[in-house]
Structures are given as structure tokens and as C-alpha cells.
């Protein structure tokens, strides 16, 4: 087992920051190539005219997921040393619902808003201002929100994955998700056709 490299080769903080910067470049490049700098294109997901978001997100997710499953099976990657977000089920359901509203109204998510900003989309700038406001408000309101955030109403289930939750091997879940993704891609193409192929170029 030798990955994550930063753990097994004991990288210094500085190297981690540098590598993260480089990875960020790839991240931003891929997002912009897919057209995620354009808020109208992103918002069109929700009107079934342009399902790029679904295609990109699922392709990305299953690519990385497949890589992780294979690397783990080869004994190269140690998932215990990898970051997997902890599950706070109620807090996260609430958070994701609020984000859903914000996404539909604002047309961006934080990552894509910076991609938009980097290509001079001015509405991205205002979305980012909004982000700062929202985060600031959360910090100020924290004492009242604390129990819901990580206290007794948060639904803290610890660091748990779908396969641990269902008691199966990771490969089983990954295979099901991969097949579902293919189905979702096929479905997206059909839906876009039905709405007249108004994909934003």
C-alpha cells in the first residue's frame, strides 16, 4: 500500500499545498471545458433542456469511484487514510436542501462560480459575494445552530459508506452505481431530444 502518497511518503504541508494548487488547475480546466462557467447552461439542467451537469457529475463520480475500487483491490490505495466526509444525516439533508434552492436561484455552485469568475462572467462575482454573506451569517448564528450542526439533532452517523451501511463489498455498490450511471446517461440523451435539443453551446 503506498497511496495516498501524502500519507505514506509523509509529505510536508508545503508539498500538499503545491500539489493541491496543481490539481486545482486541472479541476478548473475540466469544469470550464464542460461549460460550467455559464450559469444559464447550469440552470438549464432544471428545465430538462441541457443535462450536461448530470452527465459530467456522474461521469466524474463513477470514474473516480471505479479507480478507487480497483486501486483498493490491488492493495495500492488505503481508503482508511483517505478523506471520506463524515455523515451527519439531518444536518446534511437540510444543508443540501438549502443548497438546492440556492442552486436553482443563483445558477451556480461555489466551484463553478469561480470558474465563471475566471472567465469574466460578472454574475459569478455576485454569486460569490452571496456565498461570503451566507457563510458569514452561519458563523454568526452558530450558537443557535450548533445542536443541529453537530449536536444531538445532527444525526451523526460517523464516517460511513454505502457499502459499510449495507454490509457488502465496495465493488458491489460501485458496479450497481456504474450500471445506473449508464442508464442515466442514456435517459438524459432521450430527455434532451424530447425537449428539442436546446443544449447551450
Amino acid at each position: 500500500m503506498f497511496a495516498p502518497l501524502s500519507v505514506y511518503f509523509n509529505w510536508s504541508n508545503g508539498i500538499d499545498l503545491l500539489v493541491s494548487f496543481i490539481i486545482g488547475i486541472g479541476f478548473g480546466f475540466a469544469l470550464e471545458q464542460g461549460g460550467f462557467g455559464n450559469s444559464r447552461k447550469l440552470a438549464m439542467q432544471f428545465y430538462f433542456r441541457d443535462l450536461t451537469v448530470l452527465k459530467v457529475m456522474f461521469s466524474a463520480m463513477v470514474t473516480a469511484m471505479t479507480g478507487i475500487v480497483f486501486f483498493t483491490a490491488f492493495g495500492w490505495l488505503d481508503t482508511n487514510s483517505m478523506f471520506i466526509p463524515q455523515t451527519f444525516i439531518w444536518a446534511q439533508i437540510l444543508g443540501c436542501a438549502i443548497m438546492g434552492v440556492g442552486f436553482a436561484i443563483g445558477g451556480y455552485c461555489p466551484g463553478t462560480s469561480f470558474v465563471g469568475l475566471s472567465t469574466l462572467k460578472m454574475d459569478a462575482l455576485f454569486f460569490i459575494i452571496g456565498l461570503f454573506i451566507g457563510v458569514f451569517l452561519f458563523g454568526e448564528m452558530f450558537p443557535i445552530l450548533e445542536e443541529l450542526y453537530h449536536g444531538k439533532y445532527s444525526g451523526n452517523m460517523g464516517r460511513i459508506t454505502l457499502y459499510e451501511f449495507l454490509g457488502v463489498r465496495p465493488g458491489i455498490i460501485a458496479a450497481i452505481i456504474l450500471i445506473m450511471a449508464i442508464g442515466a446517461f442514456w435517459g438524459s440523451e432521450k430527455i434532451e431530444e424530447k425537449f428539442g435539443n436546446q443544449i447551450i453551446q
Partner: protein, 206 residues
């Protein structure tokens, strides 16, 4: 052309999915040593269970822990703590023992004669993600503290109460060297207190 590419991609994906169905998951016997966390636990002595605490658990009939005597079978047969099962240290670290005989949902308390073997085993079991504790002082410490409680030299009320409790516990376990002299203030033996679980430090998120 484009259609063919798509077909290749779909077939490759289906093939990968089928392979993944049969791939093994992460190896449960691979040890993950989070050194910083372990250092913190050791420094805060959260890796220990005292004989007093363990005796309370036994008396109260708790079943949320698994007590393991990691000495040799001979030593175990000569005398062991009530409720302990015997897994000599050289067997303890085998993959099938770890998966089959250790209860991953319960607290695991291990002890040897002193503390050194138990401490070594603790590092490994902790690295495997088990909720593991060392009995402070080991079997020797258990004998001294629980079976033969020392009569306090000073006679404050607290110490007398404590000694009385210890005597009651010792009698429960059939300790051999019970000092019969009564403490000066004639405090009657008090029933053991409700057992306190060992507190776990909350892990900081990222």
C-alpha cells in the same frame, strides 16, 4: 464514428462493473496507525481501564465489553479474572482470530501479568480500529488493588468509605488476604457505585 466510440465506452464500463462485483474490499487485517491520535489517547491515559472500574463492570454484570487474558494457557489456568477468555498474545494477532473471536462492537479489555505485553497488543488492535483498553497494572495490579485492598494509612472519611467499598469488592471476588481490622469510624460496607464507562475523546473533523 461517434456512435462507435460511445459503444466502446459503454461496453468497457459494463465490463468494469462486472469485474468490480468480484473484487475484494479493503483488507480488515491491515493496520492503520494514526500516530497522532494514538499519542493523544496514550497521553490522556484513555487507553486504560483501572482495576476499580473493571471490578464495577463485572459486579454490575455489564456485557458491553470483552475481557481477554493474553497470557499463556498455563498462566490462565492457574488463575484469571472472572469472565476473561484466554487468547495468548501470539494467537491474538492472527487474522482469523481478529475477525472471528474479537467482538468488533464491544469494548475490548486486555491484560497480561504486568502491562508490557498488553501495551504492545493494544497498539495493533487500536490500529485495526477496535475499541481497545489495557487493564492498568495487569493481573498483578488486579490482585493488589481488588483482591487485597490496602488499608488506608490516614483515616479521612473518604478513604474509609473507599476502603470499605474495596473490601466489599474483594469479598465478592473471594480475595485471599482480606485485612479484617475494622476502620476507626465503623463505616459499614457500601454497595458498589454505578460503573463509569471510560470516556472517549471526541475526534476533531477536518
Amino acid at each position: 464514428m461517434k456512435l462507435e466510440n460511445k459503444q466502446i465506452a459503454v461496453y468497457t464500463a459494463i465490463l468494469l462493473a462486472i469485474i468490480m462485483l468480484f473484487l475484494p474490499g479493503p483488507d480488515p487485517s491491515k493496520v492503520n496507525l494514526d500516530l497522532q491520535l494514538m499519542a493523544q489517547i496514550i497521553g490522556n491515559k484513555e487507553d486504560h481501564v483501572t482495576p476499580g472500574e473493571l471490578s464495577q463492570w463485572i459486579i454490575a454484570g455489564n456485557n458491553d465489553y470483552q475481557l481477554i487474558d493474553i497470557r499463556s494457557k498455563d498462566e490462565y489456568d492457574k488463575g484469571h479474572i472472572e469472565g476473561a477468555i484466554n487468547i495468548p498474545i501470539e494467537n491474538l494477532l492472527h487474522k482469523n482470530v481478529i475477525t472471528d473471536e474479537l467482538n468488533h462492537d464491544k469494548k475490548i479489555v486486555i491484560y497480561s501479568n504486568g502491562s508490557s505485553h498488553a501495551s504492545q497488543a493494544w497498539v495493533v488492535l487500536k490500529g485495526l480500529g477496535l475499541d481497545c483498553y489495557i487493564l492498568e497494572g495487569g493481573y498483578n495490579g488486579w490482585n493488589a488493588a481488588v483482591l487485597n485492598p490496602a488499608v488506608p494509612s490516614a483515616t479521612t472519611d473518604d478513604e474509609i468509605l473507599l476502603y470499605a467499598k474495596q473490601k466489599a469488592v474483594a469479598e465478592y471476588f473471594g480475595g485471599s488476604n482480606i485485612q479484617v481490622q475494622k476502620p476507626a469510624n465503623n463505616a459499614a460496607p457500601v454497595a458498589p457505585q454505578k460503573p463509569q464507562g471510560v470516556k472517549k475523546k471526541k475526534m476533531q473533523g477536518c
